[in-house]
Symmetry: C2
Subunit: 226 residues, 2 copies
Amino acid sequence: MIALQPGHETAQIPDIVIRRLPVYVRTLRDLHERGISSISSDDLAKHIGVTAAQIRRDLSYFGKFGKQGKGYDTAYLAETIASILGLDKQWDVALAGLGNLGRAIVRYRGFADESFNIVALFDHFADRVGQEVGEMTVLPDDQITKVIQERGIKIGIVAGPAAVAQSVADQMIAGGVQAILNYAPVVLKVPSGVTVREIDPVSALQSMTYYLGDHGDSHLDDQDTD
Amino acid sequence: MIALQPGHETAQIPDIVIRRLPVYVRTLRDLHERGISSISSDDLAKHIGVTAAQIRRDLSYFGKFGKQGKGYDTAYLAETIASILGLDKQWDVALAGLGNLGRAIVRYRGFADESFNIVALFDHFADRVGQEVGEMTVLPDDQITKVIQERGIKIGIVAGPAAVAQSVADQMIAGGVQAILNYAPVVLKVPSGVTVREIDPVSALQSMTYYLGDHGDSHLDDQDTD
């Protein structure tokens, strides 16, 4: 097993590769927990749903993993990729928008299980400000920038309606947020240096109906080719 | 304005292009509602967050839109793309998994607003079977295949835990589902002809921490380049 070669992380890695890495970590950790300590790129590819060539290409950005004929060490590779992604830290997160969706997000254990801790709640609407949700008090939008700055929060979740999403995002960014998970059905405009990921189930459904019935019989074999 | 050229839909269109189309529809409809009847590819690109070249390339798969120097007709282009995607129809949807997340999905109006109607609910756990959620009765998992077949449902949402997700998906597919929106943190194995989209907010967060702090200062300018 050859260790990660320092310096490789600073190369320009396509974002599509970065986006696949969490699935690698999750799959490799799951394999390790099931007692599988080593796996070939062919077998790993089957678990992840990409090709073995894709896996080798993705990992080549970060150094050299696996030995000829011996496969990947699942625990080592999982933790190395986790460390590259910064998942070996705890991350504070601010959430804006406490409607049904926002409340479900606060209740959701999946974030905290993976070291993302929602520590501040904001809402645009006066009737929600002051409410207690998940043992936190909902604060008004005009405190977003100040609180985020004071607490050094780098990650924001936008769960409010489309009409207020851009304003909320702007205030988060003014406070120092550099990564936004956006549930609002709107394309956020953000400055260089800020990353946005959209959670957009409606668009996801809408992009699948193309493949149904008489809307083209072309099939999707590889959802994530770059 | 030149109409869509028949036959273009059957060409092999990259899935990454199909995935962008719902955002085109949403943006163009929004522009039209705001009284903007025509827009240049440069301006449309700014609204969508891609380059003008990308827009021209994406649309070229479907024929020829827009006239030199006149821009795109927002209403016409929105409805043409909507029709290509099959969004001019109503779609029945089956949902499996009625925990917090599943219940929030049933309550969510965004799907019905866009012609996706959740018409059948299933759960693996006996204590949830028989409950009423959104005026529907939760059915047991062993009825998934039968009900989906009888009602001709083509779209399924998997909102249950990772441990039951594959089994639920298999039963949906056996009933005739060809498109699955998967909220479970697991890569579903599906046969050729079935499309899956993952809704995976944890992975989305995990793929952004790479860009925070000392985890690489490379910036993400174009999230969706193909």
